[in-house]
């Protein structure tokens, strides 16, 4: 079975719509800026990839994650023709930190927060009338994990349409603990670069609307892409160190579910956090999966511009992959000047965006999280010529010339 994406919405430090985000990615424009919401004297690290929507510099407020989630879900639902009525549509939200930043503000500063507002379901019910809502706190693979669950719901006939979302804000606890972990404070996210210093967090939300392909796109009549398969696993290995063989197993299972081979993949959206642990495990896994595939697929890592948007990051990469496949330009890995040895055989996009002559048809999206939670999705470009026979669907117009 395959599934189609009929609506997308996203917000991040580099844009408040999917178009803005894609534009920033292709331009190599990063959302990195000085730390905005915290007392900077408490930290060695001084920068992050925040959304600049606080009321004043240094002044934080609760429920920002909920606000972005609402924005992303509204955009995706609107594109899919669902409007603001999700009363009969399951909504699955992937996240690492939920509204725990609001908990921090309540605990430390006495900021007023209602306990029911800590659950995303409360906003989803009030704004969209959604009642079948589920928050899956699956660390940094959360939104691709929820994508897998959504395909299962559709497969099992439990729903005809599912909204899949991801959201995360930066919690001060995690920011401080990450600061404590690294020998030097990271000054930016530099995936696979010899001078990487570690990960910096980003903020954002993202949502897609998913349906069975056999049922067509529904009221919106637009198809952005086809999801071919999503694999998930858990390495049961370590609370924070990923395991290469488990990542490789997830990639291979995603290929199997999609019915494709390694040589069929045109584009890999790397998890690429710029931490030695991730980069080494991911490059080792991909080195084994793509052994003998020459040239390798194009590979890029958008966290170099969005920061690590945690539970939202997998779906952020997926939406970016959809835009890359239909618009033709692959964003660069910003700051990747001197690649580590383990990625020597990979066709990494560096310096500036590339526009391949050949059509990019199949993308692999990597997403890994604490606790060894791995999720890998395979997404296919949905071409305009396919649309005529698919229940009147219209593929989103390409920008290739």
């Amino acid at each position: 079975m395959s599934w189609i994406v009929t609506g997308t919405g996203a917000v991040a430090s580099i844009g408040s719509t999917t178009d803005e985000i894609y534009g920033s990615l292709v331009a190599g424009r990063s959302g990195l800026a000085g730390l905005r919401g915290y007392d900077r004297s408490r930290f060695r690290a001084q920068v992050a990839y925040e959304i600049d929507d606080r009321p004043a510099p240094g002044v934080d407020e609760p429920l920002r994650a909920t606000r972005w989630l609402e924005q992303a879900v509204a955009a995706a639902a609107r594109e899919a023709g669902l409007g603001d009525d999700l009363s009969s549509v399951p909504v699955l939200v992937g996240t690492t930190l939920r509204e725990l930043r609001s908990v921090e503000l309540s605990w430390r500063d006495g900021t007023q927060v209602e306990v029911e507002d800590l659950h995303f379901g409360t906003m989803l019910r009030r704004r969209f009338g959604a009642a079948d809502t589920h928050t899956v706190a699956n660390a940094c693979s959360a939104s691709l994990y929820t994508l897998a669950l959504a395909t299962d719901l559709l497969d099992l006939g439990q729903a005809d349409t599912v909204v899949v979302a991801g959201v995360d804000t930066i919690a001060e606890s995690t920011y401080g603990l990450l600061d404590r972990c690294y020998p030097e404070a990271p000054d930016r996210v530099r995936p696979f670069d010899r001078d990487r210093r570690g990960m910096l967090q980003g903020e954002g939300a993202v949502a897609v609307v998913l349906r069975r392909e056999a049922d067509g796109p529904g009221p919106g009549a637009t198809v952005h892409a086809r999801v071919r398969g999503v694999a998930v696993n858990c390495d049961a290995h370590h609370p924070s160190a990923p395991e290469a063989k488990s990542i490789a197993a997830a990639v291979r299972e995603a290929h199997r579910r999609a019915g494709v081979g390694s040589a069929d993949i045109d584009l890999v959206m790397l998890h690429g956090t710029g931490t030695p642990l991730n980069d080494e495990a991911e490059s080792a896994a991909l080195g084994s999966v793509f052994a003998g595939v020459e040239p390798s697929p194009y590979m890029t890592a958008i966290k170099s511009m969005t920061g690590h948007t945690a539970g939202a990051s997998g779906l952020h990469s997926l939406v970016a992959a959809i835009d890359v496949m239909r618009r033709g330009s692959v964003p660069p890995i910003v700051g990747l000047d001197d690649p580590v040895e383990s990625v020597a055989g990979f066709q990494l996009v560096r310096g500036r965006a590339v526009r391949p002559d050949e059509e990019l048809r199949l993308a692999q999206i990597d997403s890994f999280g604490f606790g060894g939670l791995n999720a890998v999705a395979i997404v296919e470009r949905y071409a305009e010529h396919e649309a005529a026979g698919a229940n009147g669907a219209t593929a989103v117009r390409e920008e290739r010339q």
Partner: protein
């Protein structure tokens, strides 16, 4: 509904004052201040685990052992890839966040311990369960408000129904600590504990020679409690012998006539017994209901258990969930 029949094959609890899952059917024990269940954990590596993780490890180990899915060494007796993990908790790691942000405010990031970093991610409980017992299948953490426990049980069923795993350990846990009390100052009582059950396909249980204790019936998450109950009852009209009610006793008290309660049927309010238990409630209810079906139900009764959590109707919760447990021998 999944065409695969899913059954319960193991139960576990970590609740102060209770020695076995069956005791959830009783009243409040007078010796409620007896030994802390986490004292049952021994060995190294406990220092940086939060209370929710430790409670879940106690209940999870008991359920896995009861289902014969782990041996004496805690390692799985089946391929680890075949076992998924689903945890429900709304407040499991808020203590770590609150303590850390206070430390930073007081003494800067330098006073924090990097060992706590994984515990800032809300999946920390499920991660340690997986690592401890080698559970390499799909691993989920539900933080879904008052319905979360019942939702988690259903996600365990869906992971099996979709073929991603053959079995799933489902744990509901909430800790009682100052951070949790801060978030709900109107409460004067808090649950502190965990409940666990093992789900697997009936075929898996049969192949392993494990006796099913109960079957999973219909589930629904709806805007109103009345609708959630009506929808699951439409799929399973047998009389309700035990109803585990939601956490708001003022909203839901006695079974309505439409429930078709059998003579001698009971309404069981676990929150009254144990304190409001948030994300743990639904799993506690299913453990209680399974214990009733497997032992306490009248021999002649062909009755089911109704569990419901959250009251969407009143506006206090975003939704309500309902789930039915059936006798193990019935379809």
């Amino acid at each position: 509904m999944s065409p695969i029949r899913v059954v319960v094959t193991g139960l576990g609890t970590a609740v102060r004052g209770l020695d076995s899952p069956e005791e959830l059917l009783g009243g409040r024990r007078s010796d409620g201040a007896s030994a802390d269940p986490v004292d049952r954990l021994t060995g190294r590596g406990l220092r940086y685990k939060d209370r929710a993780t430790k409670l879940a490890m106690v209940a999870g180990r008991e359920a896995l052992a009861a289902a014969a899915l782990i041996g004496a060494d805690g390692a799985p007796t089946v391929p680890g890839e075949s076992v998924g993990t689903v945890v429900s908790t709304n407040f499991g790691n808020v203590d770590t966040m609150c303590e850390t942000v206070a430390t930073i405010a007081r003494d800067t990031y330098l006073a924090t311990s990097p060992m706590l970093l994984p515990a800032t991610s809300s999946n920390v409980v499920a991660s340690w369960l997986a690592i401890t017992h080698g559970l390499r299948g799909a691993n989920l953490t539900l933080c879904n408000g008052r319905t979360s426990g019942l939702d988690a049980v259903n996600w365990g069923r869906l992971l099996i129904g979709s073929g991603r795993v053959e079995r799933a350990l489902v744990v509901g846990v909430e800790p009682d600590n100052p951070a949790v009390r801060h978030l709900a100052p109107e409460q004067d009582e808090f649950f502190d504990g965990a409940a666990a059950l093992v789900l697997e396909s009936a075929a898996s249980a049969a192949a392993r020679g494990v006796r099913p204790l109960a079957g999973l019936g219909p589930y629904a998450r709806r805007a109103e409690h009345t609708r959630a109950v009506a929808d699951v009852r439409a799929g399973e009209p047998r009389a309700v012998g035990l109803w585990c009610v939601p956490e708001h006793p003022e909203g839901i008290r006695a079974p309505g006539a439409s429930l078709g309660a059998v003579p001698g049927s009971a309404v069981h309010d676990l929150s009254a017994l144990l304190g409001p238990s948030s994300g743990a409630l639904g799993v506690l209810q299913c453990v209680t209901g399974t214990a009733w079906l497997a032992g306490a139900a009248p021999d002649e009764a062909d009755a089911v258990v109704l569990a419901s959590a959250g009251i969407g109707d009143t506006g206090r919760d975003d939704a309500a969930a309902a789930l039915i447990l059936t006798p193990a021998g019935s379809a």
